[in-house]
């Protein structure tokens, strides 16, 4: 925090602390001034080094000088997959990335952990209590034995009722897919189209886990994982870290003349278990979150140029295109079939990074990883072949588990 305002001295024990005595501000606008990530995939580094790499990339992306010790608060999303550093995850990571001493905490909301970390970071600034805040996420998934990984996959579902019925997330999303097919006449070819598109988008992304284009025929004939979902409907398990730096409007110009504004945010939750929900072919948590985000930003679905959508399974993207308002209810399959989410061809570029399907899904890192992509797209700094033309407004959609939690954020070049 920049201590230009009044200070007072707080005595605790035998130590003195300088505490800012700034009056509470309201209606602070929040900007993204920097964002970076590691490459997703089988990362050779451990947790601390991965986080340091993402943080370094974020710090280096700030247009003007930035120092780690300027950070007031840090919110780091992680499931702590495998239990490697289950407690005090955020403290050890920030300690090793130059942010020692600042207020930190781990945020856990399954795969939406860092989407919520981003929301918490934004709210910390809007509250007036902080000026510069880091939101990030991290997950190390591929250093476990196969059996230990199987134990951890699916820990965010309803352990008592769904897991005892043999379900992990491939199973829960397969139930949604089959029901969507039944209710709306969508089909597996629609999901294949999503898979092919996201692999095509991710092919040019140097940070993507799977940089490989896939033909329709190959994606349509993949190994069956959870009927009707095949291997090409499922995202990979990835290592990765991502880091986003937010700043209050009154300090933004110290760091950049070209900020990306966080125009709106929304979040919602729903029953954890599918059987308790009103419907399994839509996600009310997404609907609540996006309604808030559209309202707070003054943006409508038709204004969005690009969206990073939580496609942990292809059916999740299909449903999200409906829940976010890009397609009418029941027409997510048609949207995919018509290629309306393709980069620089469709109505809105869905998952220009490759999405979770191709870019990868390091659980806790995914939400802020989506924000990294939107930041770079709006700044015009992604690889040229995959740059979305004239991108002005982008959206991130980060879902926890099978839809129990969801955070949506809207970013824009204009304030």
């Amino acid at each position: 925090m920049q201590f230009s305002s009044q200070m007072y001295i707080l005595l605790l024990g035998n130590r003195c602390y300088q505490v800012p005595n700034t009056p509470r501000r309201v209606m602070v606008d929040v900007a993204v001034i920097g964002a970076g990530q590691t490459k997703y995939g089988n990362h050779p580094l451990g947790l601390k080094a991965m986080w340091a790499e993402a943080a370094t990339n974020a710090f280096n992306s700030v247009d003007k000088n930035f120092e780690a010790n300027l950070v007031d608060e840090a919110f780091i999303g992680s499931v702590a997959f495998g239990g490697g550093q289950l407690g005090n995850t955020a403290a050890i990571l920030t300690e090793h990335s130059g942010m020692k001493g600042c207020s930190v905490r781990r945020v856990e909301n399954a795969c939406a952990s860092s989407g919520f970390a981003l929301r918490d970071a934004m709210m910390a600034i809007k509250s007036g209590e902080a000026d510069i805040v880091v939101a990030g996420g991290i997950e190390k998934m591929n250093d476990l034995s196969a059996e230990r990984k199987r134990y951890w996959l699916g820990v965010s579902g309803d352990t008592e009722w769904e897991r005892l019925a043999g379900l992990t997330f491939p199973g829960t999303y397969a139930l949604m897919a089959r029901r969507h097919f039944h209710e709306y006449g969508s089909n597996h070819d629609d999901l294949v189209n999503i898979s092919v598109k996201n692999h095509m988008h991710g092919f040019e992304n140097e940070f993507a886990h799977i940089r490989k284009e896939v033909s329709f025929e190959k994606a349509a004939s993949g190994f069956m994982v959870a009927d009707p979902l095949t291997l090409y409907d499922c995202c990979p398990t990835s290592d990765g870290a991502s880091c986003v730096i937010l700043a209050a409007d009154h300090v933004v110009r110290d760091f950049t003349d070209d900020p990306i504004w966080l125009k709106g945010s929304g979040a919602g939750s729903d029953h954890l278990a599918l059987h308790d929900r009103h419907s399994i072919t839509q996600m009310s948590a997404t609907q609540k979150a996006v309604a808030q985000a559209y309202k707070s930003s003054g943006v409508l679905a038709r204004d969005i140029d690009l969206a990073e959508v939580h496609d942990c399974f292809t059916i999740a993207e299909l449903m999200a295109t409906e829940d976010l308002g890009f397609a009418n209810r029941g027409e997510g399959g048609l949207f995919a079939r018509q290629g309306r989410g393709r980069r620089n061809e469709g109505d809105v570029a869905i998952n220009p990074s490759g999405g979770l399907k191709s870019k990868g899904h390091p659980l806790g890192a995914t939400g802020t990883g989506q924000a990294v992509e939107i930041f770079k797209q709006l700044k015009g700094t992604v690889e040229a072949p995959r740059q979305i033309r004239d991108a002005e407004i982008g959206l991130t959609h980060n879902v926890g588990g099978s839809g129990a939690t969801c955070a949506v954020h809207i970013f824009g070049r204009d304030r």
Binding site: Y151, V155, E160, W161, R163, L167, G171, H275, D276, I280
Partner: protein, 310 residues
Amino acid sequence: MMEEEQPIEVAEVDLTEMTEQEILEMAVDKTIVWKGYLACVDEDSCIVQSPWFLGEDCVFGADSDHTTLAIAAIQLLQSEGTQIDSINSLNDVEASIVLMATGVEVMQTSTDDSTELNAEWDLCIGDDAVVLVCKTDCDMDILEPTGGLDVDEQFHQEMTSAWEKECQPEHVSQGAYVSRQQYHEGAAARLNLMSQEVDGELIWPPRQMDEKGNLMPQASIPLQGVATIESWTKLAAAGAPSEFSIRAPLLGGISTVFVRFEQGPRGVFLLVDDEDDNPKIGDQVQFAIRRIYAQEGYIRYGLKCQIIRD
């Protein structure tokens, strides 16, 4: 307990590879199919046995044991209107599971125990996959089920070994975990489909509080034992939760159905391991108690679905 369901006359079901003569003989013999088992019942006795045979030996199916057979036998007697409060048993069945599933207390003792067994019913089990539930003073002229199917010997041996491995105390969870306490907390709903009634609506599985912050009532209304499939999936062995990882490869994956009960609630259940047909949306299912998995030497039992075929 679940609302009563009627046993299926064996002549009404396709018991796979049996000849017409065999089926006719079974019908004459009063053998019925009940919860996926073969059974004979009269007013003061009931025999339930696995339909699977290895040579002359009646052996357990992939997710059955004496506890699941005993529960089925008691439930069959109850479906006939028989009142049973408690039952004597010298043998090792999971008494707490039987109690939660049927409401019948198992008075257990060992052969060298002098504890007096005062119940009016006996539960007898032997080495085979057969249980007999009978009145203590019933005559021993008891009908026995006939028929059965040959089990693949290798499959049976591998499945038996898999369960032995899974039931070891050192077989523990490293991640997702349902403790014994948590399992028992939900057992009445899990084994008996007990639901809560709120403003005329049935809620299942039970919830703690309503939207106004009031505590929900005790779960005391049993759901009907029939539901309709709204969706289903079959997980490849590689995609199955680790709790099933030892057995899923033997079963060729595990099948889960998402069902709606006629009274409104919905739920997810495994299909019984013996079920080898793919389900369809709209199929009706009934429920039977089977083994789900074991951890730390303790078997978690629960309801699984059987597809009702015309």
